[in-house]
């Protein structure tokens, strides 16, 4: 596998980035920033699932999903279920995703992130009550952009260009 897998991804990096993601979600977001706020934790989990599937997977996603449920005061399991499904989708498409440059990767991640958010919506709908409007799909855009930025940044860090040279 000629992916940057081996170049980064020690436990220190993984734990550090996931902790950072949790911390970022604790910031008091308001207004438009809150509406568009990417799901940092989800992006982190999916990113490490893609690059370190032996270390980060279902269990981590489930636990962090429970944490997200607590944060939003939602029903326990709402985000946990959605995150687990996201991990599955990434594992399923893993070899395909690893071939793309950051931009196309982010474009491919978009439907996965959308699916995760739709599962959150569905579980919440069944367990609590109908959601108020479709504004809840906005963070999917934020998360996609965040994925692009992270993946692009790491590639630049390792001395590769943003674009794949065919």
């Amino acid at each position: 596998m000629n992916t940057p897998t081996q170049l980064f991804g020690s436990w220190r990096h993984i734990l550090g980035s996931l902790t950072l993601a949790v911390l970022l979600e604790q910031l008091p977001w308001t207004g438009w920033a809150q509406a568009l706020r990417p799901d940092f934790v989800l992006v982190g989990v999916l990113f490490w699932t893609l690059h370190q599937p032996a270390r980060i997977g279902f269990a981590t996603a489930f636990f962090l999903g429970l944490l997200a449920d607590f944060q939003d005061g939602a029903v326990f399991g709402q985000h946990a279920i959605a995150y687990v499904i996201g991990v599955y989708l990434v594992l399923f498409l893993r070899l395909r995703l690893l071939q793309f440059d950051p931009f196309r990767q982010a474009a491919q991640l978009f439907p996965i992130l959308l699916a995760v958010q739709l599962v959150v919506l569905l579980v919440g709908w069944l367990a609590v009550n109908p959601p108020a409007g479709l504004a809840m799909l906005l963070p999917v855009l934020g998360s996609t952009v965040l994925w692009y930025l992270v993946a692009g940044f790491l590639r630049l860090l390792h001395g590769k260009g943003l674009q794949d040279r065919a």
Partner: protein, 281 residues
């Protein structure tokens, strides 16, 4: 053919099996939580874990606000002081009138042999975190069970009703905002005294439900809590009517109201601790 993503010579279960196991656990948790409320311990654990983190993460914005305040222009401060002084003078007049009314009220109550209204205790709290939930609108306060809060207490800010305390943890608590979907607030129209039920719509608006078509209500009317629910004390301002329209299909009016309290703005709120008693028996 192995599923892509599966490691070669996989030692454990495949991704699909693991997905199903985790989904079952998740569904089980969701059912236990929503049907039996069996997971409050887990919530308390998370709250203990995250409480200090939230306090710390709030610091940068506090520092920024502090710095911003430091560089505020002198003239702005003077202007603010002038308006505050004027407001204080006006409020002092009100306080004197209220003191007089309270005395008179006490006399009348003793004449009528009604119970006296219990004094109200308040707890100051600050907004710690705003939830990102699309099914109900909640904020998290930095005060909890240790400060005497319990589930169901009303929360107000300087202008009006903010919401109702929901889950309570030792050092923090969740408040369901009045604009949260399906959150009901019993209100009365200040001008006419007619009672009604205000329901949150989820988009920072309230909707006055079940108002018959001939109701005397117009934009600009204020809604106060009616106090008949034993949850909210009577007379807290709730919302102002912004639009009244006749629905084509139903027998009721469509009344939209704007909450008075700064639901998404105010950082500092008060929690009222008192047993609101129904005084007219």
């Amino acid at each position: 053919m192995a599923t892509p993503g599966q490691l070669m010579f996989a030692r454990g279960l495949g991704p699909t099996a693991r997905l199903l196991i985790w989904l079952l656990i998740g569904l089980g948790l969701a059912v236990f939580d929503s049907r039996y409320h069996a997971l409050d311990g887990l919530r308390s654990g998370f709250s203990l874990l995250l409480q200090p983190v939230r306090e710390i993460m709030r610091a940068p914005s506090d520092v920024a606000a502090e710095l911003g305040g430091f560089f505020t222009r002198h003239r702005l401060l003077q202007k603010e002081r002038d308006t505050l002084l004027a407001e204080r003078a006006r409020l002092m007049v009100n306080v004197n009138a209220a003191r007089e009314l309270r005395r008179e009220n006490a006399e009348l109550r003793s004449l009528l042999q009604l119970q006296t209204r219990p004094g109200q205790q308040v707890v100051h709290a600050a907004q710690l975190y705003r939830g990102h939930d699309w099914f109900s609108q909640r904020i998290t306060l930095d005060q909890g069970g240790r400060a005497g809060l319990r589930s169901g207490l009303p929360v107000v800010d300087a202008v009006g009703l903010v919401g109702q305390v929901g889950r309570v943890y030792p050092a923090s608590s969740e408040v369901t905002l009045i604009s949260s979907p399906e959150q009901l607030t019993p209100v009365l129209i200040e001008r006419t005294g007619q009672r009604g039920l205000a329901a949150g719509s989820g988009q920072n608006l309230l909707e006055l439900r079940y108002m018959p078509a001939q109701t005397d209500i117009r934009p600009g009317d204020r809604l106060l809590t009616s106090g008949i629910d034993r949850v909210y004390p009577a007379g807290i301002p709730v919302a102002r009517v912004t639009r009244v329209s006749r629905s084509q299909s139903g027998p009721y009016l469509r009344v939209e109201c704007m909450p008075l309290a700064g639901l998404d703005r105010s950082r500092a709120v008060l929690v009222l601790i008192a047993e609101p008693q129904v005084t007219t028996q």
